[in-house]
Subunit: 175 residues, 2 copies
């Protein structure tokens, strides 16, 4: 991607002077792709809206399904996953800016810090979403999920079982 493809800076937004700099403290391998019906200009505003448009993930129309195409060499790593369980997906927002400190998305009043937003624009453009696993085909290395709000072809970085103790704030009793 060239710099020309990056989102433009809006009024009130602040970028790191000189840009993000080197981003090679560690390397990421893309383990697959997320397949969705969404492309630029026609993406639900969030995952709840994606679920609504996918009729809860049970649509028979392939055009309204969301699934993961895993790199087949990782298929054995799916062993033990069960349909119906919640998953935490990490994926790479490859069209994002990595140098923004303050951002002014349309839904907030005043510019807000990148770490106070779920914007794809962040120093490491890794998105996280909790989805439900619907079907799993280890032979094809594919997993159908209920819904997600990213573009078709988004690179996948990780699949984790969602676990309440790790992935939810502690309740008063867990203090």
């Amino acid at each position: 991607m060239t710099m020309a493809d990056l989102p433009e800076i809006r009024p009130g937004e602040v970028a790191l002077p000189g840009g993000i700099g080197a981003t090679q403290d560690a390397g990421v391998v893309f383990i697959g792709r997320i397949r969705t019906p969404w492309k630029r200009g026609d993406c639900p505003r969030n995952i709840a809206a994606a679920r609504e448009r996918m009729s809860g993930g049970s649509a028979v129309d392939t055009a309204q399904r969301a699934w993961i195409e895993l790199d087949p060499r990782f298929a054995p790593a799916l062993t033990g996953l069960k349909p119906g369980q919640p998953l935490l997906l990490l994926y790479w927002m490859h069209n994002a800016r990595r140098d923004l400190l303050l951002q002014a998305p349309r839904h907030v009043d005043a510019p807000r810090g990148t770490f106070a937003l779920r914007s794809p624009n962040r120093p490491n453009p890794i998105a996280a979403s909790c989805v439900t696993l619907l079907r799993i085909d280890p032979a094809a290395a594919t997993l159908e999920i209920d819904a997600i709000d990213c573009f078709d072809g988004t690179p996948l970085v990780d699949i984790k079982p969602w676990i309440q103790m790790i992935d939810m704030p502690p309740g008063p009793a867990d203090g």
Copy 2:
């Protein structure tokens, strides 16, 4: 880290033949470090155990606190975060193996797929945990959190506001 430092393969575990290969589909920048009282051989078994040992994060003894030392150039990106709010942290498990497909941790009966485990050993060793923000010092670029179960000095990859709609499985009403 040399190969000699990697965890050994246990009986029943399966690694990718030839290793993980190139991991340069994308680059990660470490945005800070997580400071904890934990080191190898003395780390709580999970985040709930870490919370217990930290007395709910309110200990006055510095040795029992957990905090983030953010790279100061990112301090403006904290704007809008509020003490008390839950955060989703992503961090890099730099002592992990990236080539394991099936793993046999002590707490499971039979080897299980990497994507069905929260083990640090995974193709992209990025851990995710939900923590509570206790205090924030933008001038020092530090954030105190309630607890976390990683080693002192673990590299930080991202800070996100935890949002129920994105980070929890949909309820029956959210269909």
